[in-house]
């Protein structure tokens, strides 16, 4: 020791000083621990924010506008069937219908119950599903072709405008007689009582027994259903007749029109809404968002009467199933029911602009697109798409085994006998699911006009619904999952609602397969050579080693340039598959294939594979090699039996990391020219392709919001794919390392 102080003292702190010294050492450790902790937390937060952001964009409310709303499509279809039936007369004048049926023995038809009552001497009303329309069966809901009628108002309006409260109470008192006069059925007494209580509660006071309209003043405005219109108008007349001096305005806008004005647009000045159906959930939510709480007041029932001539003695009741035949496909009564005579049916039905026809259709026919039978779906499809498109679909797959819908049979048979027969010649006919999908895609065409993020959708649901209803009238707001099994299974499309990532996922898998197949054996081989064979002292080996280390840091786009020059251009005959005769059309073949991409990415990750494999080989203890040599093993036996198996977990770890890198690479593939829009699945190394990162990149550059949603969904798909591939690799690694005891 060259220190000049003596070593007699021990020069260490003792007692208190020692304790303080320990504390000081600890404090340094604590500071570092805190820094590491903070860094870890930061990393986790960043990751969480990223994930939340992606998930936030992959789910949420979306305003969807259909080119043709499905229920309208079905109603049009059913209306068409009814109007095109044999011997059908349609008229907007219900009285004329009633008279015609009254004068023709084999006639039948339907209209509001009031018209039956006025012509009861010449007509005969049928019971439907065994139920005859009477006040009782209509009120208790047994008679199915009946609907309740309502008025709606709000507590605020009644408090603010006493004249409205008075009118509503007056309405409740006089509704049963007014309804009866017009020809509807009164609401059930219990319902009326409940309405009275609800109104009293909303008013905060029990209504006076007798209302004197003369005591009140101020305008009253009622709007909405045309069916309820006459009732409200009649009661308004009575209200005025009893002394009310101000104006009562009753307008007919249709039920939806009334709710839309009041709830969605938040129009002021409307006091009462007439409705022939209960308020829908969407309308109700829109009302709540506008701070308007509606009270529902049933005031009566409307019923359809299915009538025949009073001379008709063979039919007294009919089922809904029979009804749907009676007014569409059947020509004679016997077609509907064999017990009935073979006489032709004469049909008298309300006109297509009349709500009564719609109501009949809604009640009697299937209203949901998805519930329609196969033939109906095909009919809807053929009525709404061009023949050319129909032919294309039919060539892909037949609609019916026994007949053709779009194609000419002669031409189709020639095609099938020809050299390159369309797929339809071999495949069985389509199924309901398939045609339903076609109808949705080609006829309904749902378009997402605006989408909202998940968090926004949860927190501001009502505002969003309101905004959507105002901005896109007729749109439906629904919770939309952008990542669905459909999304994973569908190919790329220019419509974000229909687009999927199947092409991209398959492209990624193919490219990664080539990448690994190239980089893994070459990389491991190089590592073995450098570690076990090459003399590290030699200058040329050192140059190689230095080069590999530096290559690992070269920006990926440079590999893209290399791939473009070498694989796409110089080796085009090989990478395009032309040299193997694997190209269908030599004029369009080029080197921008999966093979080029896989080799480029293989080069990109090669240095990482080599370096990590070298590390793993170096980590195999020398004692194992010596033991092996000591038993008389050759170098190759030592490498094969001891070095490689023991280095394998490390080698595979490196391969997993580099595979993950390759999956996420975008830049080099952009340079070598991956397709940005491709709908054909890759079929082999010589296919054109796209990969998930490129797909994501392409979608994020689109201006439409919905593409950003599917880009986020594709990111989730990419992450899941990455996890699956990594998990598989990790499982393989653990299996192999376990085998070595």
């Amino acid at each position: 020791m060259s220190r000049n102080n003596t070593l007699d003292d021990d020069h260490y702190p003792h007692g208190k000083d020692f304790k303080a010294q320990i504390t000081r050492r600890r404090r340094i450790g604590k500071v570092w621990r805190f820094i590491f902790y903070a860094a870890t937390i930061l990393a986790i937060i960043v990751l969480a924010v990223l994930l939340i952001n992606v998930i936030n964009q992959s789910f949420g409310l979306a305003a969807i506008q259909n080119e043709i709303p499905p229920d309208e499509l079905v109603r049009d279809y059913q209306t068409g069937r009814m109007l095109s039936a044999d011997n059908v007369v349609s008229s907007e004048d219900d009285q004329a219908l009633a008279q015609s049926i009254g004068s023709l023995d084999n006639a039948t038809g339907f209209f509001g119950y009031a018209f039956y009552r006025n012509n009861a001497d010449t007509l005969h009303v049928l019971s439907v599903d065994g139920v005859t329309p009477t006040a009782e069966t209509v009120q208790n809901g047994e008679y199915s072709l009946a609907r309740p009628l309502y008025i709606y108002t709000s507590a605020d309006i009644m408090t603010e405008k006493p004249q409205v409260a008075a009118f509503v109470n007056y309405y409740l008192d006089h509704a049963p007689e007014a309804v009866d006069t017009i020809g509807y059925f009164p609401a059930a007494p219990g319902d009326m009582e409940a309405s009275r209580e609800r109104v009293a509660e909303a008013q905060g006071a029990v209504a006076p027994d007798r209302i004197n309209p003369g005591d009140y003043s101020g305008r009253i405005v009622a709007t909405g259903s045309s069916t309820v219109y006459p009732i409200t108008a009649a009661i308004a007349e009575g209200f005025k007749a009893e002394g009310f001096q101000d104006t009562i305005e009753v307008v007919s806008t249709g039920t939806s029109g009334g709710f839309n004005l009041f709830c969605v647009e938040g129009a002021t000045g409307i006091d009462i809404i007439n409705a022939s159906r209960p308020i829908s959930q969407l309308e109700s939510e829109a009302c709540k968002a506008n701070d308007r709480q509606l009270i529902e007041i049933p005031i009566g029932m409307d019923a359809l009467a299915i009538v025949v001539n009073s001379n008709n003695n063979f039919v007294t009741e009919i089922s809904r199933e029979e009804l749907s035949q009676l007014f569409t496909s059947a020509t004679s009564w016997a077609d509907v029911n064999p017990d009935w005579p073979k006489a032709g049916i004469l049909r008298y039905i309300p006109g297509q602009f009349n709500g009564t026809l719609d109501f009949f259709i809604d009640e009697v026919f299937i209203a949901e697109l998805k519930d329609l039978p196969y033939e109906s779906l095909v009919d809807i499809l053929s009525a709404n798409i061009s023949t050319g498109l129909g032919r294309r679909f039919e060539q892909e797959q037949l609609f019916f085994e026994e007949r053709l819908v779009f194609e000419d049979p002669v031409i189709f048979n020639e095609l099938c006998a020809g050299e390159d027969p369309p797929e339809a010649c071999l495949l069985p006919a389509r199924d309901t699911e398939n045609v339903l999908q076609l109808v949705r895609e080609r006829v309904v065409v749902p378009v997402v006009v605006e989408s909202w993020f998940l968090i926004d959708s949860i927190l501001n649901r009502s505002e969003i619904i309101l905004e959507a209803q105002a901005k896109y009238p007729g749109s439906e707001v629904e919770f939309y999952k952008w990542i669905t099994p459909e999304f994973l299974k569908s190919p790329q499309s220019s419509q974000p609602e229909l687009a999927g990532v199947r092409t991209a996922i398959l492209g990624t898998l193919w490219v990664i397969l080539i990448t690994i197949a190239f980089a893994f054996p070459v990389g491991v081989g190089a590592a073995i050579y450098l570690e076990e064979y090459a003399n590290g002292e030699k200058w040329y080996n050192q140059i190689i080693q230095t080069n590999i280390n530096n290559l690992a840091g070269v920006p990926s786009i440079i590999y893209g340039m290399l791939g473009l020059a070498v694989f796409v251009r110089a080796l085009e005959p090989i990478t395009s598959g032309a040299i193997f005769g694997l190209v269908d059309d030599a004029t369009t073949a080029n080197g921008r294939t999966i093979l080029s991409a896989g080799l480029t990415l293989g080069l990109l990750i090669l240095p990482i594979v080599i370096i990590s494999a070298q590390e793993a080989v170096r980590a195999v203890p020398n004692s194992l090699r010596q033991a092996s040599y000591g038993l008389g093993a050759t170098r190759w036996q030592t490498i094969w039996h001891h070095v490689l198996p023991n280095a394998l977990p490390g080698i595979l770890t490196g391969a997993i990391i580099s595979m993950s890198r390759a999956i996420g690479e975008t830049a080099p593939l952009v340079v070598i020219g991956a397709s940005t829009f491709i709908t054909a699945d890759p079929t082999g190394p010589f296919s054109k392709f796209t990969v998930l990162p490129i797909q994501i990149f392409q979608w994020t550059t689109r201006p439409q919001g919905a593409f950003h949603n599917i880009a986020a969904a594709a990111i989730i798909a990419l992450l899941i794919l990455l996890l699956i591939l990594n998990a598989t690799a990790v499982i393989i690694r653990n299996r192999t390392s376990k085998r070595m005891v």
Partner: protein, 203 residues
């Protein structure tokens, strides 16, 4: 260091003539001339770092594995120079086995540890019998007979070292070199190894 051999021609099993071993430019041992008789236990003794291991490893060309090492002089095995250009080091190591200072079983089962050397050297006989005999000779059989499929690394230090000896015996070398085989072991394990060496001399 132990030596036991089936005496063939030549009076000495191993004989070195002015052997110098260099690591790079450093001369580790200088002008060694030793003569080792067959069927005997011969021990090399010396202070730490004097070159015992270097000399020992020179006898079966294990120093070849160190890229910087170089040997001058001659090492004769039954009169033949094992450093002659036409001699295959793999053959030398097959005939002159070595047991290292630290037990280094392969990360394989006890059975595979014993059988591997025989397998790669083209042993054609009954492998199970060979494994059993080798393990018996190494006085390990009774301890491992029921767990031959367990990892060699699951054994204790002394057992591992006896496994390494069994592994070496299995390829039937003419000479077994042992580089302080008991240095990492406790006294009881050491005693067993020493007994073992005595028994091996008898065979």
């Amino acid at each position: 260091m132990t030596e036991q051999s089936l005496s063939e021609n030549g009076k000495f099993a191993i004989e070195t003539r002015s052997m110098n071993v260099y690591y790079g430019s450093f001369r580790a041992v200088e002008n060694i001339d030793v003569k080792i008789k067959p069927r005997q236990i011969t021990a090399l003794i010396g202070p730490s770092g004097c070159g015992k291991s270097t000399v020992l490893r020179a006898f079966n060309r294990m120093n070849d594995l160190i890229s910087t090492s170089r040997l001058e002089g001659e090492v004769l095995f039954h009169g033949q120079n094992i450093y002659a250009p036409d001699v295959d080091p793999v053959e030398v190591r097959r005939r002159i086995g070595i047991v290292f200072q630290k037990p280094n079983p392969f990360p394989k089962s006890i059975y595979d540890n014993t059988a591997w050397g025989a397998k790669i050297n083209g042993f054609k006989g009954d492998m199970d019998a060979l494994v059993e005999r080798s393990l018996r000779q190494a006085a390990l059989w009774d301890e491992v007979r029921d767990k031959l499929d367990q990892s060699g690394l699951s054994l204790s230090g002394g057992q591992q070292q006896r496994l390494c000896i069994a592994r070496t015996i299995a390829v039937k070398p003419e000479i077994i070199l042992m580089d302080e085989p008991a240095s990492a072991l406790d006294p009881i394990a050491t005693l067993r190894i020493e007994e073992l060496i005595q028994e091996l001399k008898r065979d």
